[in-house]
Assembly symmetry: C2
Homo-oligomer: 299 residues x 2
């Protein structure tokens, strides 16, 4: 089934305790699409600058990602720099150069307006809604957000939440948006704002999804060596939405399996910089790790 993602294409500079890498391919929509492409061919809407390398665009296309919604604007591509502490849980933003993303207005090509599954990657909620409203009759829409928008654009975010089926948050964002420290109560609060499903990501502590007909919780895949956690959340969303789109429904059973695929996808992502690990994985790698994770969580 058709799967659309609207988000960023970026060049990232990442510092970890082990390494420093500059100008690597990144961005929420890139991580999402590369992850989802293992399950269903994604359609990508975003913006790049003149400096975006042809080989990177070609690389995305080779993975079956429809890049006809990627606009090339005058200026430079979005750039972000971050540094991780040794425990991986503390991240410092070194710089954020919005560049062409500053005035991004998503333009969903006509051929993509019939998309059934939609992921609105992190952006100002007005921009997310603007993108969503160009899709005819989506079946299942999930949005991501961040603490910044909860802080400075809460009304716009709450408006968006009335139009989406699911919201993906990390634990800190869920607490901030709900004002509840207990994550279960936080999830219930957020669902009262509109979304039928809340996907709560807890990093190394796993994730859970709550909905009217569903409460499913699982631990993270036990990665023994993290190289770079950047993109883990978007990769999770890509694996999750890719699996849902491939299945073509949102039954509790599909959602549970999709949570495992999201977990597996995120675990590959953090094993390398940029898309270096997740980009080279085969469907067999996914299925093997899915089976391993299943054995770890099966009672």
């Amino acid at each position: 089934m058709s799967l659309l993602v609207i988000g960023t294409l970026a060049y990232d500079t990442i510092e970890t305790v082990h390494d420093k890498r500059e100008g690597m391919l990144g961005g929420s929509a890139v991580y999402f699409a590369v992850a989802a492409a293992h399950f269903a061919p994604p359609r990508l809407v975003g913006v790049i600058g003149k400096d975006f390398q042809d080989e990177h665009l070609a690389g995305l296309r080779e993975r079956g990602i429809d890049c006809s919604g990627v606009e090339v604007a005058d200026g430079k591509t979005f750039r972000w720099g971050g540094r991780y502490e040794a425990d991986w849980n503390t991240r410092h933003t070194l710089f954020t150069h919005l560049n062409v993303f500053e005035h991004f207005e998503p333009k969903v090509p006509d051929a993509m307006r019939d998309s059934r599954f939609v992921f609105l990657a992190n952006a100002h909620p007005k921009i997310q809604l603007q993108g969503l409203q160009q899709v005819d009759k989506p079946e299942f829409v999930v949005a991501d957000t961040m603490n910044l928008w909860i802080d400075v654009a809460l009304d716009d975010l709450k408006n968006l939440l009335r139009h989406v089926d699911g919201l993906a948050l990390n634990d800190e964002e869920a607490r901030m948006l709900s004002g509840e420290s207990n994550l279960i109560r936080a999830a219930q609060q957020v669902m009262g704002m509109g979304p039928r499903y809340l996907i709560l990501k807890k990093g190394e502590h796993g994730a859970f999804v709550m909905g009217e007909d569903l409460h499913f919780s699982l631990p993270a895949y036990p990665v023994t060596e993290v190289i770079d956690p950047t993109g883990a959340g978007d990769s999770f969303a890509g694996g999750f939405m890719g699996a849902v789109a491939a299945q073509g429904n949102t039954s509790p059973q599909t959602m549970r399996k999709a949570m495992l695929y999201g977990t597996v996808t995120a675990s590959f992502c953090v094993q390398g910089f940029s898309i270096e690990d997740i980009g080279q994985r085969t469907r067999m790698d996914f299925d093997e790790r899915y089976a391993e994770l299943l054995s770890i969580v099966t009672v």
Copy 2:
């Protein structure tokens, strides 16, 4: 099957953001035994002072706990005071009065020497070993410990680890004992020190068990209101060991189910001060919550 616990009986003073309670029944062996008694009748070895209230001892006996190994010594019962921050994750020790526990030397009554399942609650590893050596031929021995002993009695702890089948640690202790920040690598390191199984407790983030034939991970039960987390780890161990003893074997299947029972048990424990919640639960409460947890983790 016979289940023995060696540990503390105590009176606790607890401060939370909501309440302050003084001189409540507590102690590792009390929490363990009250939890385990829901599954198999535990035998308790420990020490109390002259001030220990008869009604408390009678209450333990009424639950089917064999208290013939509880020695009454001259002096006062072990007393501990702690204060929790609003997030529950930060605990400040207000005081520790070892009292009669300071010179505790476990004396396992003859009638308890045939115990098949043994839990060595947190104590100096020399004391734990001294207790264990009085058991004839235990089938499955699990020890708990704490950061203090890793710090000041590492050699004694490592010696103990060569005599136990399982070690229960929280994430901080596992990192400290192994020198590894990654919990999976930490678990592997600790298993290299002797135990066949490592039970790793992550509080609100769940728990996992690793062994030669087993790797099973599960989230915590989603408690919506924590009243007092004191005793959660010992209650987990009590539910876990009680379920294992009731089953009479340590097959992977038994261990997985026992992890769920440990999780359920800890979730009741934190819903009240002292043993107020867990002490009043029926077997039906346990089975209902077990079924609910099972539905939350089943793919």
